[in-house]
Symmetry: C2
Subunit: 381 residues, 2 copies
């Protein structure tokens, strides 16, 4: 790939990643965390790319978060060894965790039940690997975790772990409910509620004589909206690197910050319906409809011209496997642009994690629309 490659010569659909925006987004999170006095543990589940991880984590690489053991293996093999696997462990996965730890990867796991803590204790008894564990705390009724005020279960888990020989590192949470908010004050309040609640859990452990050095919080919307992280030691977030239409709808980025897009080609029209048909369907975009419940629904994505400038109210209205139907956003009354068969467009994604997952590589694009690098992606578990 030479610097002379232009996006016009790429096959379609192709995944584009704007290097300048990626750099700006990564710097923004570093500055935000530095201002709040916490470290950042970027979540690599969005990028799933060794090159993107190196770009964001620097050298020597800082800590990172992963969503699968495959990610831990892939990133660990390149020297990113301070890793948190942020999905509750199942007993069957423990031998693979220990195999990685024996190869020098400092992999930490999470759990939220006495059952899982007992399985970890049993694994430690058999393997001799004192796996480091964080207890997941549910701070907003969203997904996994011990409720922040369920002191009894929390202490039972903590004691089961320490008596079982695990290294109890602390507590972590994901404030997923922040995805339903859309103004700065509400987001700052959600970040503070997350902080106060996880600290209540941390204090319960400490008051019972259990260790809790790490207090880890996260989600892109709260991380970028927090005013104080007093008592918090680290923040985790992932999608902020690329951003997407959902994050723009929440209000933590602008459309112009979205670094990821899908390059597509016009393949036809239905002129009586004001439809433009392209070769990017859900296989290239994902079936994620994350903006459906936001104030502005972008359907399957917002359409830009070949240079990345958004058209006013032109969206991917419908998506079949390899067909995307472009039309004016319903209710907007917008005119659709004149695009011919063979013309190129770019589509901004609803959800960067899901759209990127449909592709095997990023094409890094520069301000002059040249393609400067190809960054492979991986997937699987």
């Amino acid at each position: 790939m030479t610097a002379q490659t232009e996006i016009g010569s790429l096959p379609t659909p192709s995944l584009l990643l704007d290097r300048a925006r990626l750099a700006r987004n990564a710097a923004r999170m570093r500055a935000q965390a530095a201002g709040l006095g916490v470290s950042v543990r970027p979540h690599l589940k969005t990028a799933k790319s060794l090159d993107a991880a190196a770009f964001v984590l620097g050298s020597p690489p800082g800590p990172a978060t992963v969503s699968t053991l495959k990610e831990a293996e892939m990133f660990g093999a390149t020297g990113i060894t301070d890793l948190l696997y942020a999905v509750c462990i199942s007993p069957q996965k423990l031998p693979r965790v220990t195999a990685m730890r024996r190869r020098g990867i400092d992999l930490k796991i999470i759990l939220d039940s006495v059952e899982a803590a007992e399985a970890v204790a049993q694994h430690i008894a058999q393997s001799g690997d004192a796996v480091p564990v964080l207890i997941e705390i549910d701070v907003d009724d969203h997904r996994s975790g011990v409720r922040w005020d369920n002191r009894e279960t929390l202490l039972r888990i903590g004691r089961s772990l320490t008596e079982g020989g695990a290294i109890l590192q602390g507590v972590m949470c994901h404030s997923g409910e922040s995805y339903n908010l859309h103004d700065g004050e509400a987001l700052a309040a959600a970040a503070d509620l997350e902080r106060v609640r996880i600290l209540e859990a941390a204090e319960a452990l400490r008051a019972a004589g259990l260790p809790c050095p790490v207090v880890s919080v996260g989600s892109t919307p709260t991380a970028l909206s927090a005013k104080s992280y007093d008592g918090i030691t680290e923040v985790r977030a992932g999608v902020y690197m690329f951003f997407d239409l959902v994050q723009a709808g929440i209000g933590v980025c602008g459309i112009g910050d979205i670094a990821l897009s899908v390059l597509a080609t016009v393949i036809g029209h239905q002129r009586d319906k004001n439809w433009i048909i392209t070769d990017a369907g859900w296989m290239a975009l994902s079936a994620d409809r994350g903006t459906a419940d936001q104030a502005v629904d972008h359907y399957y994505g917002l359409v830009c011209d070949a240079d990345g400038q958004p058209y006013r109210d032109l969206v991917v209205l419908k998506a079949n496997q390899e067909h995307g139907i472009l039309a004016a956003r319903p209710g907007s009354g917008a005119n659709i642009p004149e695009l011919k068969v063979g013309d190129r467009i770019r589509i901004l994604p609803n959800h960067a994690c899901a759209t990127a997952a449909q592709h095997d590589q990023y094409h890094l694009i520069e301000p002059d629309n040249s393609v400067s690098a190809i960054w492979p992606r991986f997937r699987g578990w």
Copy 2:
């Protein structure tokens, strides 16, 4: 992979494919087409697997349909050479089509505009490759295609192609609107409407002295519901091999015909909410919510026990990237089963094409739950 491998030893999430159901589903379509006197051109976009294609197409392999040039290259290289690329061509893709044709792959393309026909004529003038072309016909106002009764445009396209040196092979259509139906009589009527309308287009070409040997129709729901294919030469369909909850909702298969499922492990609970949390989120299931508008909404999938027996009204209510939340189907009042951390379940997919696309391989399972083979999948364009 020995016959002794059991699904209990697979990592999760893993994609399972029931060989007996696949065989039964493939035989059913062959018998249906034979009864109607047409050939089947299976669509390989659902399977994207050389092994699955060999299983379904037999030896020597019959004709097939593809949705990407990558599929054409992959299947063509294994001797499946009678291929139809069933997405309207864009001019930039033509050199790749001709490169394949020069390697002995009899690849046919489709288009639905004078613009594209002129681009093909120009490509033929430059390359000397008389590409075979079918004109896509819109029979149900669904997606691409020249409207079946738009005789003027149809003849302009046909003349542009034949005068430009292309081999005009005929007409094809996809009756996508059949996905909105759910009873046998309506589906049979849709199949007949498709037949009548595409024949009107074929007759218009023939009456003008243009060739039209091939009349190709398709969609799994109409293909399985048609009572007569008089005048039709071939039928295309893909998802029938695996089936899924959307097809069961349409009524062309039963839940017990679905050959594809995702194996997952319980990783936790929120007992006050009657939630069971597993390690299969949208990354393993896809974000497809295809049953949302059907009479029975399966949310992100219907949950079965480890042997594949469906639980009554247990669905994947929510899906994050690597978390799936199992709960009783809203409104059902069903009890949720007692499942412990580490227990295995299987999830039936809304949309087999989308769920399979999230995985790199199929684990072929036999009636005794042994895993008899791994069939790799590919992806990309």
